[in-house]
């Protein structure tokens, strides 16, 4: 890959450096604190962010891309991507990063693709937005990308409209689109939660392989602790807008925080038969 040398130079500096990040949303009924004092760094690794609904895990991804919505107020001591301050960056320069160096795959491809444009045209548009490619060349690149994400008969699928795709194909198309600019960081927000289990596996293997081949960093947002522990290098566990625990993915079984332990314990398991499932007892102290 042509861009590899430039990347190794940056290897010293963390790709993401987040210190004391607060995000508040102003609503008609008052201000809601979505993220409270979140700090982490990300190198060339796969970081999993896990939590239940409302824990703020998706807000982290959206804040990094600055697509958090106009009513969101972001404060941070530091919010840097590859050494550049994301908070102070003018929107024009932000566009150089968003969709080019940092891209995002969301949960449900049905809501992310334009329903009235052919898949091939949407992919070609992504190519042309980030280069000076001609139309024919961009279309060819689109077909090549569909091939890379293992869509059978890519030339034909490029002519499809989104409603003609199955859930798994739609998610492959989204991944293809996000990989076109060869980003440094891919943020995947519950990329497989809307899919059937066997399709989930295929998409995970695909992501696994592509992230490794392209040496991308990955932020993987999910509610599924066990999935993340198998897929990522490191895990952050979030509860009500805070990071309550951070651990190496293979050390999840040794997690210390009572919330993490509680979550692990209340999942039904295939291996052992229990009479009653353990129930998570929430402690107000976790919010401090």
């Amino acid at each position: 890959m042509s861009s590899t040398p430039a990347r190794t130079e940056q290897a010293e500096l963390p790709l993401l450096d987040v210190r004391n990040l607060f995000v508040d949303f102003r609503t008609t009924t008052g201000t809601v604190g979505a993220l409270r004092d979140v700090s982490f760094t990300l190198g060339r690794e796969r970081l999993g962010i896990v939590g239940e609904s409302g824990s703020g895990k998706s807000t982290v991804g959206r804040t990094l891309l600055r697509i958090h919505g106009k009513n969101g107020i972001v404060r941070a001591r530091r919010l840097q991507f590859a050494g550049r301050d994301l908070l102070g960056l003018p929107e024009r320069e932000m566009r150089e990063i968003r969709g080019r160096r940092m891209t995002m795959v969301m949960q449900d491809p049905r809501y992310c693709l334009n329903p009235v444009l052919k898949v091939g045209n949407q992919l070609a548009e992504a190519c042309r937005a980030h280069s000076t490619m001609g139309k024919a060349e961009a279309w060819q690149k689109a077909v090549d990308m569909l091939d890379i994400v293992q869509i059978r008969n890519p030339a034909r699928v490029a002519e499809y409209y989104p409603h003609e795709l199955s859930g798994g194909m739609g998610q492959r198309v989204m991944i293809a689109m996000m990989l076109i600019p060869n980003p440094d960081l891919l943020i995947a927000d519950e990329p497989t939660s809307a899919l059937d289990v066997t399709v989930q596996r295929q998409i995970l293997h695909l992501l696994d392989r592509l992230v490794a081949q392209r040496r991308m960093s990955l932020v993987f947002i999910s509610h599924d602790l066990n999935l993340v522990s198998g897929f990522c290098d490191r895990i952050l566990i979030m509860y009500r807008g805070r990071i309550v625990e951070s651990c190496a993915a293979d050390q999840l079984h040794a997690a210390r925080h009572p919330y993490t332990r509680g979550l692990l314990d209340c999942a039904p398991s295939m291996d052992r038969k229990v009479d009653r499932l353990n129930v998570l007892v929430r402690d107000p102290a976790w919010e401090q």
Binding site: E52, S53, G167, D196, V197, T198, V199, Q200, R201, L204, H205, D208, R209, A212, Q213, R215, H223, L225, N226, L227, S229, G230, F231, G262, L263, C266, A267, P268, S269, M270, D271, K273, V274, R276, L277, N278, V279, L280
Partner: protein, 256 residues
């Protein structure tokens, strides 16, 4: 032998003529009284259609549905509807957004002409672990888990024999799922209910059910016990595939 549910050669098709699509294909199974029977399969396998057909929400079926010795046809007596109740996946859309919890639980009693409804509603709220303070709330004022408890309360207030559960915890967080599954398990024992439990998650079905059917494209591939499922002791390739997909994810060998 005390079978509560007998399904015999059930076929369901949608559409006419050459457009007809058979979504349930020659399905037969029996569920004993007090048993929890699971149905697993991927989307489009017909598992929810079976529940809706048993419930009486589909009229275009062939085959026999017998509940507690009584055949259930397309046209049913009001008393027959009381015997079977259903809980849906998404409690957001299953409850009337502009009616209170009290109204939702009361309505089935009203339709069936029950006396002493006030007392029954209060007792039922307690049985499903909801505070009496929530009685006059609207669905949007409740959490997902509370809403699902309301849906369960509404389903069992008529003392049904059979409860059909269509992915009752798929829309809930893991910690809330544990609470709702425990509640369902307790209610089955307390009220002597028979469950048919549809889910795409094998671990949930293995926890809740005694036996389960694996479905693929409208056909029951095999019926096995929860014990066999735990051991991975499946006769069919497709079942083994499903089990493999439910095991913890393992990364592929990494290229540098």
């Amino acid at each position: 032998m005390g079978a509560m549910i007998e399904i015999d050669r059930l076929n369901v098709s949608f559409g006419d003529g050459s457009q007809a699509m058979r979504v349930v294909d020659d399905v037969s199974f029996r569920v004993a009284k007090g048993e929890c029977f699971g149905i697993v399969g991927e989307s489009g396998s017909g598992k929810s259609t079976i529940l809706r057909t048993i419930m009486g929400l589909n009229s275009n079926f062939t085959g026999r549905i017998v509940i507690d010795g009584q055949p259930f046809e397309t046209r049913r007596a009001r008393e027959q509807y009381r015997h079977i109740q259903m809980v849906f996946q998404d409690p957001y859309s299953a409850l009337h957004p502009r009616r209170t919890v009290d109204w939702s639980i009361n309505e089935p009693l009203l339709i069936q002409g029950y006396p002493d409804r006030d007392r029954l509603v209060v007792e039922m709220l307690e049985s499903v672990g909801l505070s009496p303070a929530l009685r006059y709330r609207f669905p949007h004022q409740l959490s997902g888990g509370q809403r699902q408890r309301v849906a369960i309360a509404r389903a069992i207030i008529l003392n049904p024999a059979v409860l059909l559960l269509d992915e009752p915890t798929s829309a809930l967080d893991l910690s809330v799922q544990a609470e709702v599954l425990n509640l369902l398990d307790g209610l089955r024992r307390a009220f002597g209910l028979t469950y048919v439990f549809v889910s795409h998650e094998l671990a949930v079905v293995a926890h809740m059910c005694d036996r389960l059917a694996v479905m693929k494209q409208g056909v029951v591939v095999e019926i096995l016990s929860a014990e066999q499922l735990r051991r991975g002791d499946a006769a069919q390739e497709y079942t083994r595939e499903l089990i493999a997909a439910s095991l913890p994810y393992r990364r592929e060998a990494l290229a540098g």
